[in-house]
Symmetry: C2
């Protein structure tokens, strides 16, 4: 009987290929099968991060997902998991590529939850865009006893406002068409003047714009608002 | 006139030397001067993570800090910054080692705030123990629209309880002697049964213990409580 292959969830970091960990780099080059999410129009952001590291001998599996993930997406995940299970059952290790960290607002969890009960599985944590964005903005994010929050721009305005009132530092992710709504909330809770804006942190297309100059109709999904701690500025 | 050296804040990740990024590894081996926080008893945790990568030709600067950081620690930071400034002014690049990420509850910020106005400075983000702990526990941390919080165990019980009531997923850091207090809070807000415990994630001394079996008198500073999202478990 063939021994099962191992499933890896590889955190690739926020976009700069040099922000892969040594471990993710080693595993990426050692596995025979590499899988990655792909959008219906064929874009594979995670693959593009590591394109220079892949080998022509590796089997590649684009996992095509609908643009908008819903409960109705479950058959897609089921199908994807079965495609990977076939390789794992045949004894081939499979690395699933994940932007950022696999367990922090990623898509790997849907694969993990289906396959980790059946196959040996290892998660390789990655640099999150949360920390990378603060680093690229050159603004320390959290000090000492700060309460930090990561809040999604897709939430209702009143939920975002309520949570931000209890945060010392925060990031707001998944902006896109929610940007204008989020800015209104920031003004309401008195945080707009502290908010910083960055698109596609650490990539070749990174773009830092003063938040009041951002065109709300042009905000990409991979944009982030960072509200750094005020601690150091208060206490020197 | 000598051109200034460059200051790097190098995120080393949570403890496994293989979780350095390719970028941090490259810079670490290229710089002539390596600085790192040291406790008064001589322990240098960040140096121990990368000990195997350092070269005998590199100048090492232990930055001795008091055990408990207070506002009164400022003269320590001022002195440390001047030590590094001397090398930078002489044209030598200096890498400051930081466990986890330099801008996420780190000590690098105190150096950054003093030296970045005077010298070219670059932050290299690192894998945070937040994401690494969830990965090692094998439990996805956050899904979809979850509100995520990082909360310090050093805060008053009522603040921790209040914030946790608005969180879908959370980590509680800086446990140590605050562990028993934090467990009481978790019971009060109904989260104790969902809470997971891990010490020194990704290091050779990593230890995962069911939270009800933890001896509150033996909890190290580098322990973490992880409260993963319930989303997938509710919705399949």
């Amino acid at each position: 009987m063939t021994e099962s292959g191992k499933l890896y969830g590889l955190g690739l970091g926020p976009g700069d290929p040099e922000l892969l960990t040594l471990k993710a780099y080693r595993i990426l080059q050692a596995v025979p099968v590499v899988a990655y999410p792909a959008s219906p129009d064929g874009r594979c952001i995670s693959r593009s991060i590591v394109a220079e590291y892949l080998k022509p001998t590796q089997i590649e599996i684009p996992m095509v997902l609908p643009f908008k993930l819903e409960l109705s997406s479950q058959p897609y995940y089921d199908k994807m998991a079965e495609d990977l299970a076939a390789h794992l059952s045949a004894g081939r290790d499979v690395a699933v590529l994940c932007e950022g960290d696999p367990f922090f607002f990623g898509t790997f969890m849907y694969t993990f939850n289906r396959l980790s009960p059946r196959f040996p599985t290892e998660v390789v944590p990655g640099v999150s865009s949360v920390m990378a964005s603060a680093g690229m903005l050159g603004r320390p994010l959290t000090y000492r006893n700060d309460v930090f929050m990561a809040i999604m721009g897709t939430l209702p305005a009143e939920v975002i406002a309520d949570r931000l009132r209890g945060a010392d530092a925060a990031v707001i992710m998944k902006l896109g068409r929610n940007f204008a709504k989020v800015c209104e909330v920031l003004k309401e809770v008195g945080l707009f003047d502290r908010a910083l804006y960055i698109e596609r942190a650490t990539t070749t297309r990174q773009n830092i714009v003063p938040i009041q100059d951002v065109d709300p109709t042009q905000v990409p999904y991979f944009a982030m608002i960072v509200i750094p701690s005020q601690w150091e500025w208060r206490n020197g």
